[in-house]
Symmetry: C2
Subunit: 214 residues, 2 copies
């Protein structure tokens, strides 16, 4: 006699998006083990069975969710380059600061990212996603460095990109995991100084805070 739960039919894209978002939400809140099939479905407002209708397995959903997360993080970084200054040094400075500031640097984002590290090492497909996004970010950085008014060969340029990427990643990590251990703006300031020192360029002076939101 009990009537079935009423529902609405949604587009495949919408449902997949909702399920992926719900999965990432739960991983961010409670770690990988909190993102169970039932919890994900509940968060997305559907019943558990629907997950297997849109994803061949939970592992499939996990992979897709990781893909989505990495896309988002790379897009957040790239967004800074839109509507920025034209001066090459200023562009690099803004990019560096953005990479170690919210929303890119964020405790939740780091927790989310870390949750997948082990799977990245194990799963070929996930490792491919990771490599692609890592190189994408580094190439963005390398492009900005190459545009600087200084003369270096290709070999040196690559080393510079790796080194600067290292500083950024390290500060991103520490600032996100232990935000209370640093004063506001301290990480950004240190990032500018050290990347500038590696490239022998004054990034502190070139940095132009965002003026698009007055």
């Amino acid at each position: 006699m009990a009537s079935r739960r009423p529902y609405r039919r949604e587009s495949e894209e919408r449902r997949r998006d909702d399920l992926i978002a719900a999965a990432l939400d739960l991983v961010a809140e409670g770690g990988l083990h909190a993102a169970t099939v039932r919890a994900i479905a509940d968060r997305a407002g559907v019943t558990p069975g629907l997950i297997r209708h849109y994803f061949s397995s939970k592992e499939d959903l996990t992979r897709v969710a990781y893909h989505r997360l990495m896309e988002q993080m790379t897009a957040d970084s790239a967004a800074v380059l839109q509507d920025g200054p034209e001066d090459a040094t200023a562009r690099l400075a803004n990019f560096v600061v953005a990479s170690v500031s919210p929303p890119v640097a964020d405790p939740v984002a780091v927790g989310l990212w870390a949750a997948f590290v082990h799977d990245v090492r194990r799963d070929t497909e996930m490792r491919h996603v990771h490599t692609t996004n890592y190189l994408s970010f580094r190439n963005m950085l390398q492009g900005l460095i190459a545009a600087l008014p200084r003369a270096v060969n290709d070999r040196q340029l690559l080393c510079d990109a790796i080194a600067c990427n290292g500083v950024i990643d390290g500060l991103w990590l520490e600032g996100s995991i232990l935000p209370e251990a640093f004063e506001p703006g301290e990480i950004a300031s240190i990032a500018l100084t050290s990347v500038g020192a590696i490239l022998n360029v004054n990034l502190v002076a070139a940095y132009q805070p965002d003026r698009t939101t007055p």
Copy 2:
């Protein structure tokens, strides 16, 4: 009629050590979800019930295991400073290289470390362990930097330590997760160059490879 499994009584310390080691082993191999009570006990050569005899809960064991892991990683870093050269610049150079080389930099170690990041954010006690070890490492680094023959104030010294720590952590991370993306020694070389650039010291020239194992 079935006889019970024979066993030997061991000291509390030995049993706790075995269980912790087994737990870390399993997390390294298969992620946090692989370290179940039964799997840990099996790996340690005991039955599952024994875990609850030495640890009040599985969460308790997890915390202790994380503590042990961090102690080990810090100890590995500090070990480099034993039996090293006396010259301050050379000591720093050796420390930097060791921090981004095996066994400190290692895919398994990173996977292990990442598995606990989420819990660190959530659990107060684990966050305390993390903070302690992070500051311990950074202070070691700061001590090495302070010994360099150059004049800087305390404020600058702290910033230098944070920055250098950032480079090291970032390169440690990338070199460990994507070891095949770099040539042998490339990460170490870049680490020396960039830390040297930040501190305005020639670390490449000062680096003295270990001569204790000819």
